[in-house]
């Protein structure tokens, strides 16, 4: 009884922290102006993108530029279906996700056979494939893109809660995946692939599985992103779209679950602020990448954790 109580009090500060965070996120729309609310939705969506990107980059140590292709494919499928057929939005979303899964299934055996730079560039080729197809097709809007409106500005508050709940469910699901035996195999593959193969684990199967899972969550992020912005254009399927989750993951720390969440929240907010002031935002993004790779290759969160642990050790 006393032991249980002690355990509870030990966890108490953590619980309070979670409670405050949840209350803050739930109450955000009540006091935030509309302009900032839209940005918060944007940040949540990009965080979802970054967390699914981190499944590959952080745990399997492979960088996939092709994720922008999945991001765009689901969104384009959804928009094209609702535009040209009389399909319900939710069915269109489901079909969009189906397309993403099918494409990931098709691509993954080819991509996951490779590693390192070859993985990065082969996935880039498959992503750019989507970008070129949507860019060249007149029915899909060409380089102007397709405009549509599923939500109005008045519905933004409701949309915020929808996005928040979908993103939380997805992120919790990914947290469960990351803390499962499955992810241990993935991490081991990331550390030393040939050794894992010697143990008798079917490496290729695991790599394909994590690739498809990551692509699916990216597809969800893409759907939400296009609904929020009311436009799909080829840029969201092109590799430049990956820079936001990439820099966010680098900043927060790859291979740690909270890394991309914190990092993307900071990076994307700054990017949005700077992009609002000047058109020379590439200095900021490029400079941040260079500085992070040279001086802080592990990112903020691991550094933060080690400092925190040292402090805890010193105190008693």
């Amino acid at each position: 009884m006393v032991e249980g109580f002690r355990k509870f009090t030990k966890k108490f500060p953590q619980l309070i922290l979670w409670f405050i965070l949840a209350a803050f996120l739930l109450l955000l729309p009540t006091f935030l102006p509309l302009y900032y609310l839209i940005h918060s939705i944007d940040v949540i969506i990009i965080i979802l993108f970054a967390v699914s990107f981190n499944l590959l980059y952080g745990y399997m140590k492979e960088i996939s530029f092709g994720h922008a292709g999945f991001f765009g494919l689901g969104a384009y499928t959804m928009v094209a279906l609702t535009k040209y057929t009389e399909v319900n939005l939710f069915i269109a979303m489901a079909i969009g996700m189906l397309f993403v899964l099918l494409y990931a299934l098709l691509v993954s055996p080819l991509v996951t056979r490779l590693s390192g730079i070859f993985f990065a560039l082969c996935s880039l080729a498959f992503g750019e494939f989507i970008a070129i197809i949507v860019w060249s097709s007149r029915d899909l809007g060409g380089d102007v893109g397709l405009h549509f409106s599923f939500i109005t500005l008045k519905e933004m508050k409701i949309f915020y809660y929808i996005v928040l709940s979908i993103a939380s469910i997805c992120i919790i699901a990914m947290y469960k995946i990351v803390n499962s035996p499955f992810s241990l195999a993935i991490r081991a593959i990331g550390d030393n692939m040939s050794r894992v193969e010697c143990i008798g684990i079917k490496v290729l199967r695991y790599r394909m599985a994590i690739f498809i899972i990551s692509a699916a969550f990216t597809g969800i992020a893409g759907l939400l992103y296009s609904i929020l912005h009311g436009i799909v254009h080829p840029r969201i399927a092109s590799w430049e779209m990956v820079t936001s989750p990439l820099v966010g993951t680098l900043l927060g720390g790859a291979g740690i679950f909270s890394g991309p969440i914190i990092g993307t929240a900071i990076y994307y907010t700054l990017y949005w602020k700077i992009g609002g002031i000047t058109s020379h935002w590439e200095y900021f993004t490029g400079g941040l990448i260079v500085i992070l790779v040279i001086f802080l290759p592990k990112g903020i969160m691991p550094t933060f954790y080690t400092l925190f642990k040292q402090k805890l050790k010193k105190e008693p």
Binding site: F126, I132, T243, Y283, T285, G287, I289, I294
Partner: protein
Amino acid sequence: MLEDIAIQLLFGLARGSTLFLLAVGLSLIYGMLNVLNFAHGVLFMLGGFFAVSLLSVLGVAQPALWIILLLIAPFLVSLVGVGFKFLLTPVVKGPREITEVKTLIFTIGLAMIFSALARTIWGADIYSFPKPSLIAGSINVLGRAIPAYDFLLVGLGLGIGIFLILLFFKTPTGVLTRAYQFDERIAAAMGVDTGRLSLIMFALGSFLAGLGGSLSALVGTVEFLTWKKVILEAFIVAIIGGLGSFRGVLLGAFLIGIIESLVIFFFARFGPWISWIAIYTVFVIVLIFRPKGIFGGRF
């Protein structure tokens, strides 16, 4: 019909020459430092910008123009490339599997900074300059008028290709380069000055990229987005041939150039994007059968 194909082959060779100039440095630098240089497209773009600026400042008298286009602008670019090398040196230390991805990300950052820099200096305008009289006309081949410019490109591409073959296979420097690519540590242990050698190759690769850039600005245009347009194709050429392999780049560049021009000729009614689909298809097919490229692992 046969004549058409012959002429398309000529265009393909011209396109392949530009691709060769662009991708050879990429491949050489990868072979030396295990860095896939995302900022290589920036060097190509800077070649064009330097040529445009120098020509507008110094005027366009005939002999001086060629010296600027073929020597001075690429030389300035090679200085920038050497600067890249010094920035990259602290990042490339460590096991190869980690540094490859790390340096890829690092060079993306460099490319973004230089792209923003080019935008600050030259603005978002599209630049071009009038063609000099030597190559403004056209030459009749098989009853068709071919721009003289394409002959210049083919000549330069093949000339530089032969020069590099002689350099790599017939001179001491070339032997040392191949030894270095084969095994860096043993080469260093045998007394090869690896730092100097990789510096030379970095300068050479950037020089050729700058040359390609200044020549393509001569016939086409240059803007701050140029690097994004060329870098993907350069990667594909370098990887199809096998990264780090000189023969591979030579084959890959002309293969892609010829495929591109033939596909455009036969399937033009589908739109200009069909050439990209063809290139990516070739790329994926090569990676399926030879995951390290056609000449992967061999110089």
